[in-house]
Symmetry: C2
Subunit: 278 residues, 2 copies
């Protein structure tokens, strides 16, 4: 019997603080688990860098987390999920590794009746086309509209998460997709950026009511839980006393704490963040 | 007589495309000059990086431009102007080197009657405090309000330069400075970011009419012209046939051309941009 075994933490990394929406969803889905979050704030953004560079950064982030004894790795960054999962899995073949794109794509295809799906994300994510490819792989005939919503990132980081300005910006991006008379509108919208869940209320407010919204943070958390449940001892047999959080960043504890609090939905203190050098 | 001497170009660098507002002002002020512009797009943003790293990047940018025979260097980047001018001048003691902060600070102190001055910029520029220091050095008793306007950068890069959304965002940032009953309002506003001149109309529209706006792109261009006039042969004695433009970037010619066209105010073609490796 392994009843006294303490469960190792789950590692989560992102280029910055956006992945904290994924961490928040993970903690809500698995409240007894311990997590280590690493934000590579010194080198953000990943979205403008070459695939080769992002793979190298992702391997460095994973190495820090693996050295701290994680038992699963969540890549809470769209850019790294698109470019680095294969390399990470080759380096750590026994570690469950989950990205944010595949769960969002699966949830979108499951949610959509018409298979007309809209995806919004950063310029890098949309131009990279990873969501579009993942959705088409699941459903070859899907009709996909993809739009970069760059201001959503800036508004989320500024803490402007609701109100008339946010809704005006959301309308400017989304009305051409959903309020155009010239084509059948999508019935599903994927929030394909880790920053966007904090704007979900404002985005929902400007969408037609029948449109289903897929939050890739929530779907990733659900995928992680399923994956671990499938491969591990039932939670009831493991001692999980004292779920712990460890916060790591590569630069700027003050900004990480301030902006991160918006994404995490609770107050982060700068002194609780350990700065690591990659 | 040097009548047949062809004048060497002026070099301009920035971390990205924002410095194109400075280049635009330089070309308007000195239409017969040739310019080489370098945008270090592969490594932007500079604002989140350490001073030491920005100095290294600035020296690399300068080296590329010096190798192409420039006769003056304009640092069209607030972050690099704040951290790197001294190192650049030590490396190139005979080259006139002009940054964007000192001219803006001088223009603000000259424009302000009350010496209550507001400065807006990116988070990095405002927190770094370079404008505040430059203004206080010129006028020790100046009262300075400094506010980071992060969304202005995103809106400018998106090409949202006017209209109700931009004005709503501008009001949200600026009303606390200029429409507060609790304190005397500043009489001068410094646009302390190279992105902001493209939003000048919308910013002007929400300011009280008596407030003077200092555009650091225009003031930098005026400072460069004065500096070169003071040290060089009169323009009439030099052959300036065929003022030429050379465009260099370290990554992403397509995005440089698309977003750069907004800042430059004219169409840039991707094929006219040479990608250089630093």
């Amino acid at each position: 019997l392994n009843a006294a075994v303490k469960r190792a933490p789950i590692g989560v990394f992102d280029s910055g603080v956006g992945g904290l929406t994924v961490l928040r969803a993970l903690r809500a889905a698995m409240p007894d688990e311990s997590f280590i979050y690493l934000g590579d704030t010194a080198r953000l953004p990943y979205g403008t860098k070459s695939d080769q560079t992002v793979v190298r950064y992702s391997l460095q982030c994973a190495a820090v987390l693996v050295a701290r004894g994680i038992r699963a790795l969540v890549v809470a960054c769209n850019t790294a999920s698109a470019s680095s999962l294969q390399a990470l899995r080759l380096h750590y073949p026994d570690l469950p590794i989950i990205g944010v794109i595949q769960p969002g794509a699966e949830a979108a295809v499951a949610a959509s009746t018409s298979k007309r799906i809209a995806v919004i994300g950063t310029e890098g994510t949309i131009q990279g086309g990873a969501y579009q490819r993942a959705i088409r792989t699941l459903h070859g005939a899907a009709s996909i509209e993809a739009v970069a919503c760059s201001l959503f990132v800036a508004m989320a980081e500024e803490g402007w998460t609701e109100g008339p300005i946010v809704e005006s910006v959301a309308r400017r991006y989304l009305d051409p997709l959903f309020a155009s008379a010239s084509q059948p509108a999508p019935d599903t919208l994927v929030l394909g950026c880790t920053h966007f869940p904090v704007l979900a209320g404002a985005i929902r407010a400007v969408l037609p009511p029948q449109v289903r919204m897929v939050d890739s943070a929530l779907t990733t958390a659900a995928a992680v839980r399923l994956r671990l449940q499938a491969s591990e001892t039932a939670a009831s047999e493991i001692s999980n006393t004292g779920a712990a959080m460890t916060w790591l960043a590569t630069d700027g504890a003050a900004r990480f704490a301030r902006v991160g609090s918006i994404f995490l939905g609770e107050t982060l203190l700068p002194q609780s963040i350990e700065i690591v050098d990659l």
